[in-house]
Point group: C2
DNA sequence: CCGACAATGTTGACGCTGTCAACAATCTTT
DNA sequence: AAAGATTGTTGACAGCGTCAACATTGTCGG
């Protein structure tokens, strides 16, 4: 509790994770290193290894954290949005895109091949991985089921497959946007990125069922 | 032409690119290094720098190559598939998935944030980047327009946005599959990955219009 | 209160990486 | 054949992830 810098940092683990997020956001995955991270936290270059067995494990932990945040964002949107399940679903799609835009490094970390590999190798040792609170897919599936129940999505489709289809398009759109593809194509055609996104979303909305107008802005 | 190993390799550039593909497929992006690549090609560790200014530039070249290959695969599918444009579009979706499965490293390279950044920095110096023959999006958009013309896709949607929507869902599905998400979820529900993919594709097909049965296998 | 033991942090080393500078061999052109 | 441009080699540098050995601090049984 003193102001003196003690030999023991006593909550280095958490501090490292927080600094890691900022470091990755600032310098990208390329410029992210354990040694810079240690320096940022004001400890020696091997101190992090008392809390994470490897860089891979630290990244996997960050990825888990990302899923928890994404799930939370989706749930918050779902509970905030009033009206039909269909509107909820569209709002959740927007929330997914927002999350991807605001935390691009989180997303690319959560869904990169390396990220998954890291998570798997860690999950085999720490069972809290892939627990319920990090299931970012669940909320989506629930809403899809609700859409089927209210008739705004084809009730004869298998809910899992339908949810995957919805997830795929939103995920794909988010990644293509993050990679700059949307901006590139939009520029070629003299549109803004937001206009293009809204237009694509209108197509999704049209596919989701025969219902009313398209909601919201990007 | 002699059997002797000459000082000058005379087509090192091409040899490096080919070895790079194999190296990446074997060891993943993580284990891919310029020095290993040089060793594979039987040259010293700095020889590649006579042909590529940096690792980034080599990767960007590979990425361009991937787009050329993907475009070729899509065009081949389009010209092979007979029948309605709608069937072509679905076949091209399958082709995209196949390409992603058979060359996962190519795909993650082509669409990873680092890949794009690398490409951009190279494109600003070498203008052949993003030329017509590497436009893997064009063939898709053409087919989408054909679908609109024949009435199997909503003619009132803006073709660009519609194409993006289609691309997004196929791209997202391909990436989620490559990252193991589909396998994971399928296993949880006691399905096979292929069954799940087919089911998702059926949903896409259903969205694409009111037409007949779903084609093909995965 | 003290001594043992576990937890946490530090120093120094290892091999690997991307890249640069200086030098050497070869090809091309005159 | 001489000159200059290409292409390949050697050696060095800083930065990386990680391990081993050691130092400091917190915790707990006596």
């Amino acid at each position: 509790m003193k102001g003196t810098k003690s030999y023991h940092h006593k909550d280095l683990r958490q501090a490292l994770l927080q600094h890691a997020v900022r470091l990755i956001q600032d310098e990208g995955m390329k410029g992210f290193s354990m040694r810079k991270l240690a320096a940022l936290a004001g400890v020696s270059h091997t101190a992090p290894y008392r809390h994470f067995a490897s860089k891979e494990e630290l990244v996997a932990t960050l990825m888990l954290d990302g899923h928890i945040r994404l799930r939370a964002a989706l749930l918050a949107t779902a509970s905030t949005t009033s009206g039909r399940a269909r509107d909820k679903l569209l709002a959740m799609g927007r929330a997914y895109l927002d999350f991807a835009r605001e935390q691009p490094e989180y997303i690319s970390l959560m869904f990169s091949g390396e990220g998954m590999a890291a998570a798997m190798s860690v999950a085999s040792r720490h069972s809290e991985f892939f627990a319920e609170d990090s299931d970012s897919f669940g909320p989506l599936e629930e809403t899809v089921r609700a859409c089927q129940a209210e008739g705004s999505l084809d009730p004869s489709s298998e809910p899992g497959a339908l949810s995957f289809a919805v997830w795929s398009q939103v995920h794909g759109l988010a990644l293509l946007r993050n990679e700059g593809m949307i901006r590139l194509m939009a520029a070629e055609r003299g549109h803004t990125e937001d206009d293009t996104l809204n237009a694509v979303f209108a197509v999704f909305s049209h596919w989701y069922g025969p219902a009313g107008a398209v909601g919201g802005e990007v």
